[in-house]
């Protein structure tokens, strides 16, 4: 498993170099590759010669997986992983992205941050935050977002004995007690699409939401679509249509005005063009199962 991941990372890291000549033909003075971009004069890095990434602790599957490596502050369990492992979609993506920018795996540093640190003003002790952060115009006023690295929908999970099981319409969810982790757009899906008669419960993290689901204090929890398939509950009841009609996506967030965002965008484009992004999604995320969309 780890070997495979490492191979994927190395493959991903090598791939962009093949594209270099073609890419540089099409662009003018702008940096052609993510690697050139990072070597540019005024790219500030938190730690010299390394890429420092902030993410949540615990780091949840399927975004982060693998066994905890020695000396890491992250603990692995059946539902959590260690970003250092290169396993799980975001971890694998991070190493692939770092590869496009010329950082080898040893030069990727992880920092555990509370969610609010991903948008706190002032200097940061990491280059960018990567923790399933959905883009929104309002959020983009406080931080700079990279381009999307994953298009995401929201889905409802429930346990077998919940009245939510079998519901196919948004109307059918109105009288159910729903829950959502904080900081996600799951709450927006509940408030704007379901418009429930019962006040939804919001939790500081997924863990607490799942505990209440288990205790039967909520009938269902709204989570990111890939998260829904990770066995956190018995059933994936259904998925929500995009809130406001616009496709939701995850981006990494930077301190406002950080020029590194350009390099990351080039890196993401490279990974998208050579198919790595799709490959990683197929490998780490279950997204192709047919789940009905609530009507």
């Amino acid at each position: 498993m780890i070997g495979l991941a490492a191979f994927a990372i190395i493959a991903a890291a090598c791939a962009p170099e093949d594209d270099t000549p073609a890419a540089s033909d099409t662009t003018g003075e702008a940096p052609a590759t993510a690697e050139e971009c990072v070597q540019g004069a005024d790219i500030p890095l938190t730690a010299e010669g390394a890429l420092t990434i902030g993410t949540g602790n615990p780091a949840y599957a399927p975004w982060y997986g693998g066994k905890s490596v020695d000396g890491s502050e992250w603990e692995s369990s059946s539902f959590t992983g260690d970003p250092h492992s290169g396993e799980g979609y975001e971890s694998a993506f991070a190493y692939a992205l770092a590869g496009t920018m010329g950082f080898d795996d040893d030069a990727v540093e992880w920092v555990g941050i509370p969610f609010a640190k991903s948008f706190a003003p002032g200097p940061r002790d990491f280059d960018f935050a990567m923790q399933q952060i959905s883009y929104s115009d309002k959020r983009a006023e406080a931080v700079d977002f990279s381009d999307g690295y994953f298009d995401v929908n929201q889905a409802l999970i429930a346990n077998n004995d919940s009245p939510a099981v079998g519901v196919t319409t948004l109307d059918g969810l109105k009288d159910l007690k729903l829950g959502a982790p904080i900081g996600t757009t799951s709450l927006e899906a509940i408030e704007e699409l379901v418009q429930p008669n019962v006040e939804p419960s919001i939790y500081n993290n997924l863990d607490l939401a799942l505990k209440d689901l288990k205790n039967g204090q909520v009938d269902g929890v709204v989570v990111d679509y890939p998260t829904a398939f990770y066995g956190y509950a018995d059933v994936v009841v259904g998925q929500f249509p995009p809130v406001g009609g616009e496709q939701e996506y995850f981006g990494v967030t930077f301190e406002k005005g950080n020029p590194l965002v350009e390099c990351v965008n080039i890196g993401i484009a490279e990974l998208e063009d050579d198919g790595t992004l799709q490959e990683l999604q197929d490998k780490w995320l279950t997204t192709d199962v047919d789940v009905p969309v609530f009507s």
Binding site: S136, E141, L187, K211
Partner: protein
């Protein structure tokens, strides 16, 4: 405000010379109003320098800087109604808890003061209780009860988060307030009880009519301390997924990537504290007046 200019005539005549001269010594109004103006000027200068320092700091007005992130007027107005909505739940929770705490803490304090070897187990219970619940952080009590009790799936055990939040706050603050009561009870001189007993009052009557009224009056300020503490700790129950003020602020904050909702909530907490402080000050003053009026004999 009332110190402006006039100075001496403000001293109430019945305060008498000792009070008056002490006031003069503290306020130093030898020179009439001059010192008042110095005080006003130095206050203005102090805050002007402080504000200038903050406003001119590099992170204040940068895009996405402190001004935008913490003092965004539009977001303040937008988030305040929702936060007030959530805060209303805090109010209901802490009011309920405060009433329960006032009763239980008194029972606990009296239990702890029971004389005689027969009551040793009760005293031990009271002491252990106050050690346990003053020792465990409130947030942990909330977590353990809020997530643990419903998980027992016992018939008749409520599974409501709000219920367990109230229980947790009541348990913790009963321990604190019982100590406050105890301090008050022990501060009443034993001769008071002795006098009451010699008048034919039973031990319980002496406690009820002589000791407690004096004790409670003396501990009003620390009681208010604990109540304000309890009110602030009501913000912790958001951890259970109850949409109270703080969780509402967190939601708005995460949706907008902005910290202004926290400032709004902080303001709400301060605003509700002010009338309570004034009320207790008034109670204490009234009490003092009454005691001085009739207490000479």
């Amino acid at each position: 405000m009332s110190y402006g200019g006039a100075g001496v005539p403000e001293i109430e005549p019945d305060l008498g010379p000792p009070e008056g001269s002490r006031r003069s010594r503290i306020l130093g109004d030898r020179d009439g109003g001059r010192n008042v103006w110095v005080a006003v000027a130095s206050t203005i200068v102090f805050f002007a320098v402080l504000i200038t320092l903050i406003v001119n700091s590099p992170g204040w007005s940068a895009p996405g800087g402190v001004r935008d992130a913490f003092f965004n007027k539009e977001l303040f107005l937008e988030s305040l109604p929702k936060i007030l909505d959530g805060f209303w739940l805090n109010v209901r929770i802490f009011l309920t808890a405060e009433i329960l705490v006032l009763m239980f803490a008194l029972v606990l304090a009296v239990m702890r003061g029971l004389p005689g070897p027969v009551f040793a187990p009760l005293r031990l219970l009271a002491v252990s209780y106050s050690i346990l619940f003053r020792g465990v952080p409130t947030i942990l009590v909330i977590f353990i009860l809020g997530f643990g009790m419903p998980a027992l799936e016992l018939q008749g055990v409520p599974s409501s988060d709000v219920f367990w939040a109230i229980v947790a706050l009541t348990l913790v603050y009963t321990a604190y307030v019982a100590e406050v009561y105890r301090a008050g009870i022990e501060s009443v001189h034993p001769s008071q009880t002795a006098a009451a007993r010699s008048l034919g009052l039973k031990r319980s009557q002496a406690l009820r009519f002589v000791v407690l009224p004096q004790a409670v009056r003396r501990v009003l300020p620390p009681l208010l301390n604990d109540f304000i503490g309890l009110q602030k700790d009501s913000a912790l129950i958001g951890a259970l997924g109850v949409t109270e003020g703080l969780l509402q602020a967190q939601i708005s904050s995460a949706a907008n990537f902005n910290f202004t909702p926290y400032v709004s909530l902080a303001l709400v907490f301060v605003v509700i504290t002010i009338p309570q402080v004034l009320f207790v000050d008034w109670l204490i003053k009234r009490d003092k007046r009454r005691r001085q009026a009739g207490g000479v004999a």
